[in-house]
Structures are given as C-alpha cells and as structure tokens.
C-alpha cells in the first residue's frame, strides 16, 4: 500500500518538475524555429549563427513543423523567431486582406504581438511546374493552358492542397476541371514527377530542383499567386527583452537575392553540402563575418538521436507502466467503472498518433514534453487492458481458495493475482514498448528529437541514407526492446 502511494506521489512530482523546468528554462534564450523545408532551415541557420556570433543565447528548433505549428508556437511563445513569407502570412494566417507594404502588414501583426522584418530580398512564390519535355509536347505555357488537359495527374504538397492561396484558389480562379489530385510531401513530389506517376506539381520559385530536373514553370497568367516576400517573423516583445537580437534580424533585410537563395538551396539539396556550412559561407560573403558551426558526424548524430529517442520512450513508457497497472487493477476490481476505464484508454488509442501529437501543442507547447505526454497516453491501452484481463482471467476456484485462507484482499492481490497476471501484464508492456519506439519517431515533428530527426531531414533532402539513419536504429531498437522483454518473461514467468 505504502509503495503504491509513494509511486503516485513520485509521478505527480515528476510531472510538476518537468513542467516547471520547461517554463523556467524558457525565459532565457531566444528560440528560433524553422519549417520542414531546406530554404527555411538555411534562413534559420543564418539567423541562428548571426545571433550566436553576437553573443545571444539561442535555442534552435530546426524543422519544427508546418506553417500552422510554427505560427501557433510563435503566438504561444514556444518560439520567438521563424522565417516565413508575406503571402503565406496574409492568406493563410490572417485570412486574406490588402496590405500594400510590409509596414502595413506589421500594423496588423502587432494585434497578435508579432512583427515581421522587411523583405530579406527575394520573392519565393508558389508556381505550378511540369517536366519540360512533356509540357512542350502538350504545348503548355501557362496555368490557363491546363484547362484543355483534364487527364493530367496532379501531385501537391498537403499544405498546398488545403491552402486558400493554393490548389483550392487555383482551381476556382482558373476554372480547372476536378482531376486526380494526390497529396504528398513536397520533396518527394520531384521523384513522382521524374517517375511519371504525376504530371503537375506545386513549386516554390526558389526551388533548386527546377533546374536540376529540367522543369517548366507554368506562367501564372491570371496573377493568382500573391507576393511571397521572405521575412523573419518575431515576437514584438523581443524589441524590449532582446533588442540586439531584433537588430540582427533587421541586418538581414534585403541581403538575400533570389539567385543567392536558389544557389544555397541547390548547394544543400543537389550538391549535398551541410546546411550549416552553406549558411556560414553566405554570412562570410554578405557580412564578412566568420561564424562558427559544427557539422555533425554520423556517429555523433547516432548518439544524440539514440539518447533523444531513449529519453522519449523511457520516460513515457515508465510513466505509462506506473499509471496503467493500477488503472488496470481498478478496472478489474470495481465493476462500476470497469467499462469507462477500458473505453477511455481505448478511445485514446484510436486518435491518430500524429493528431495526438498536435493536440498536445496547445497544452504543453513544443519539444520533448508534449511528445512524451502523447506517447504516454498512447502506451496506456495495451498495459491497462492486459492487466485487467490478466486479473479477470484467473479462475474462480483459485481466487476462492485464496479467499478461503482468510487472507485480506491486498495480500491476495500481491501474492496471488498479480503474480498470476504477470505474463499477461508483461506482454502488454512489451506491446506498448514496441509501439512506443515506433511512434516516438513522429516526435521529431514537434521538435522532440530522436530517430525521427534524421528521417525528417532525409525526406527534406531526398536522402535515403539519412532516412535509414533514423529508420534502421528505430527498427533495431524495437527488436531489442522485444528481445529484452522476451528475456524478462523467460526469467520471471518460468514457473507454473
């Protein structure tokens, strides 16, 4: 009894420490985030290196997520800075509106406690593109020309499909027939285009691949796409808390031309140079400053990712075990709440893991804490269910024999029921652990680190070796966990 109470206190204390630690630490450094694609990462790198060069302490959330996640993280203060584009901010986040200049836009942004720098110097607009030979064969020059070819297959990034300034708007404005549209990752779209499974994709005009894959950019003849001037968004409070940081952001205004951006994108995506190195080279050229950066080795990344992954899995699974076993016991012992407990954890399991992760952001922000919370909830069901059924399935004569001895229920639970249910409970923990190891790779989407990190970067850079750098250890870890539990089972469940 005492040890049970102690474990409950421990869990509560643990959560409190975790949450306060997060908030206390959040005060000091400037937090920079980037979106998932290379250009955003490079601009993030440049910003981060310049800030560090100036002595500003920086927490860097590389490839944190899509526009919505970053915008919300900025609003909530989980991050202070991230690069974005005027068109995206206006159409997607502010729901449209006429803003002639960025200064006008900033008046609106001030209502949200945000500010944007002036344009960094280039316009990265959306565009539609096709393989040049195919476009020429069909005589396609502009988006309007697509109207005559409804048989073409479209493959768009998921964000583009749903955006007002994306496919929905194009289709309406250009009166295009509804044709086959597939949603896929932008970096994978080029592969589909090359393979011939899709014909038309959305492009960013600074994409390095346009040249590399010999693509034709279809002319936006109705001028549907707004301006997408690159800017850096930041929380207005930085002007008072970190004035020097804002000064540095402003130094970047007008400094990056479209050609320079395309070249940097190509250096990373086509030539395979490290993004931090490309960013540093740009700073050297544009500002004459030598910045420090560290390129990671395979081994150092492996260590960091492994530790990150074990951290996510270990804590979430540990807490899940501490919570789920008592919950399973309660469900087995108290018929009045049996159904509600089981359906509650059952419903948790039906929430798609990605959605569960995103639900955590408004509650717990970004990073490892919300990821662990989601993994914790996700790990409950197999353990609760197996604890419950392990106890329920003990035969009545055995339980009655124990009761007939005149032993109190707590002793029966400890000496008879839990040991007899142990194999089933262990099987539940094993299932949870294996699911947890796999699902934890998604944590990288909200900045939690782990093996998902190289997978995300690998998708961005279209690099199979980077993807495998995350996928293989994740699979091996799942197998190791399974093997470990098999050993534990053999050792503890050999009797009877």
């Amino acid at each position: 009894m005492i040890s049970q109470r102690r474990s409950v206190i421990f869990i509560v204390a643990f959560w409190v420490i975790l949450l306060t630690a997060k908030n206390v630490l959040a005060q000091a450094p400037v937090k920079v985030g980037t979106k998932l694609f290379t250009e955003s990462v490079i601009i993030g790198d440049i910003t981060q290196q310049l800030l560090i060069e100036d002595g500003v302490e920086v927490e860097f959330y590389k490839q944190l997520g899509g526009t919505r996640i970053l915008w919300n993280a900025l609003l909530s203060g989980d991050i202070d800075i991230y690069p974005d584009y005027t068109g995206t901010i206006i159409e997607e986040m502010l729901g449209g509106g006429e803003f002639k200049t960025i200064t006008e836009l900033n008046q609106k942004l001030e209502e949200f406690g945000l500010q944007a720098t002036q344009s960094l110097g280039f316009n990265n607009t959306y565009a539609l593109g096709m393989v040049k030979t195919k476009a020429n064969k069909l005589g396609l020059e502009s988006i309007s020309d697509l109207r005559a070819h409804p048989q073409l297959n479209y493959g768009f990034s998921n964000e583009f499909i749903n955006r007002a300034d994306g496919w929905a708007g194009i289709q309406q404005n250009y009166r295009l027939a509804t044709t086959s549209v597939t949603g896929l990752d932008h970096d994978l779209a080029y592969r589909g285009l090359q393979g011939g499974s899709i014909d038309v994709i959305d492009l960013y005009s600074t994409d390095a691949e346009i040249d590399y894959y010999k693509l034709k950019v279809l002319k936006d003849d109705l001028q549907f796409f707004p301006d997408y001037q690159a800017v850096i968004l930041y929380r207005k409070e930085l002007e008072t808390t970190h004035p020097n940081a804002v000064k540095i952001l402003k130094r970047l205004e007008g400094k990056i031309s479209e050609e320079e951006m395309v070249a940097m994108n190509a250096a990373v995506k086509i030539d395979g140079r490290a993004d931090v190195e490309v960013a540093s080279a740009f700073i050297q050229e544009a500002f004459g400053v030598q910045t420090e950066f560290t390129t990671s080795t395979l081994w150092s990344r492996f260590i960091t990712n492994t530790l990150g992954h074990l951290y996510l899995v270990g804590i979430s699974l540990g807490l899940a075990i501490l919570f789920a076993i008592p919950l399973g016991i309660i469900a087995a012992k108290i018929p009045a709440i049996e159904k509600s407990v089981l359906s509650f954890v059952g419903v948790l399991q039906t929430i798609p893991s990605l959605a569960l992760l995103v639900f955590m952001i408004p509650l717990l922000g970004i990073g490892a804490v919300p990821a662990m919370a989601a993994l914790f909830l996700y790990s409950l069901l197999p353990i609760v269910r197996n604890t419950h059924s392990g106890i329920k399935n003990i035969s009545t004569p055995l339980i009655e024999s124990a009761q007939a001895l005149g032993l109190p229920n707590s002793v029966i639970l400890k000496k008879i029921e839990l040991p007899l249910a142990l194999p089933t409970i262990l099987a539940g923990i094993k299932t949870s652990a294996v699911i947890n190891v796999g699902t934890a790779t998604l944590g990288a989407l909200i900045g939690a680190g782990g093996y998902g990190q190289p997978i995300l970067t690998g998708i961005r850079l279209d690099s199979m070796s980077l993807i495998l750098e995350g996928a293989i250890p994740a699979a091996v870890l799942a197998l190791l966990v399974q093997g470990l539990f098999d050993l534990v089972e053999k050792r503890f469940v050999v009797r009877g």
Binding site: P397, L398, A404, L405, G406, P419, L420, G496
Partner: protein
C-alpha cells in the same frame, strides 16, 4: 458448529437455493449430495462466505458470519476443492505456508507444522518443493489438505475433493480422509456426487434437489426409507460392479 438458516440465493432471477437450513454438529461429518445444479456447491460456498446469500444467516461456532469477522472466521475453517485449487506459481510448500507467513509465524513453528501434517497426510517432505503442476492429482489433494489444516481449524469444508482422482488413489485417499476427520475430531462439510463416498465418510447424508433438502439421515435410512421417488431413483442410480452379474 455450522448452522445455516433459511438460506435463499438466486442468480439472474433464477432461484438456486430456496430457504435451505442445515446444521452440522461438532465433530461430525455431513455429506451433502445431489445431482449437478442442485445447489450443494453454492450452499457450501455461502457457508465459507465466498458467495453472499440473498437472505438467511450463517453461524459458525455460535457467531454470525459478517463482513467484519469474515477473515477471522475463514481461518477457523479449512477449505479443499476439486483439483486442489493450488496456486500454480507457488511451490507446494509456499502454498501451504502462505497464511502462516501472513500471520507472522516464525519459521521453526511453520516447519514443525509442515512436518507434522506431511506425515499425517502421507506425503514425502521432498515433494513439497515442487510446483503443483509437477505433482499427481492425489499428491495435489494431499498438499491441499495440508494447506487447509495449517492453522488447525475445527471445521473442514470440502467441495468434491476427490472428483478428478483415479479410483485406486481415491480409495486410499478416502480412507486417509476418514482417519483424519475422526482422529482430529473435525467438524466436516463434504460435498460429493458419489453416494458411496458420502456414505463412507459421512455420519449423516443430506440429499438435495433443485435448491431444497429432500432427505437427511443415515445411509440406511436413505436406502431403506427413501422420502420420495427421486431419492429412490438417486439411490438406484449407483452402479455396483457385481450388479451386472446378478
């Protein structure tokens, strides 16, 4: 010693026991017998407090069985079920010492008691370190008997204890049980479906049918003066090996 008064019990609206009363005098053995579903096992488990009756009272040793005195009262009663009800994850010895350890007996006292009972129920002391699944059915019942007798209870309650034991071993065990009941002067409630066993072990036989006691008496009374045609049929349904040659 055991006194059940006016016990009613139903499951999901279906009556299983209809106002059954039963007294078992001190140091006597009563055999409860009847066809499957007659309520004999339910009555026995109500006497142990394992099932709660809808109405009626249970008195053990003069005091009413309540949730307050349940644990204490159960320790005054030894319980043996079909196939022993031994805990498969514990050795035979651990099965037997579970309750004495809970009661903080010192280890010498426990060991002395185990030795004493092992010789009483005729089991090799070495067998006690095995897991139940590695013991024969007869051995399991002997271990179960040690477990039931550990606290030297005055009452022993047995639910078809020899139901799944082969005939030769059963024959031996019946004799051993009878010796133990009589020599230790135990008050015994035995549920069985075998009239021969009921007659051999019981001072009295209580015959039940569909939740009611049909007849109570010695085996002679039941055989010679059956209360009704059901009792007569029940008695005649017992096959003797020699009958086939009559």
């Amino acid at each position: 010693m055991i006194s059940l008064q006016n016990i009613n019990k139903s499951y999901n609206g279906k009556g299983v026991l209809h106002g059954v009363s039963l007294k078992i005098p001190k140091a006597k053995t009563v055999s409860l017998i009847g066809p499957s579903g007659c309520g004999k096992s339910t009555l026995l488990r109500i006497a142990m407090g394992l099932i709660h009756q809808d109405s009626g009272t249970v008195h053990i040793d003069g005091s009413e069985l309540t949730s307050q005195n349940m644990l204490e009262t159960r320790r005054k009663m030894g319980y043996v079920v079909q196939k022993g009800g031994l805990f498969p994850h514990l050795t035979a010895r651990e099965n037997c010492t579970l309750v004495t350890q809970y009661l903080n007996w010192d280890s010498e006292r426990i060991e002395a008691r185990i030795q004493e009972l092992a010789s009483l129920v005729k089991i090799e002391i070495g067998e006690l370190d095995r897991l139940p699944n590695n013991l024969s059915g007869g051995q399991q019942q002997r271990i179960s008997l040690i477990r039931a007798l550990m606290l030297d209870p005055e009452i022993i309650v047995l639910d078809e204890p020899l139901g799944s034991i082969d005939p030769l071993v059963r024959y031996e065990l019946q004799a051993d049980l009878k010796y133990i009941f009589i020599s230790l002067k135990k008050t015994v409630l035995l549920v069985t479906h075998d009239l021969g066993e009921a007659a051999y072990l019981g001072d009295e036989i209580v015959l039940m049918k569909e939740g009611n006691v049909v007849q109570r008496g010695s085996i002679q009374e039941i055989v010679k003066q059956p209360a009704n045609s059901f009792v007569e049929r029940f008695v005649n349904a017992q096959r003797s090996p020699l009958m086939e040659f009559d």
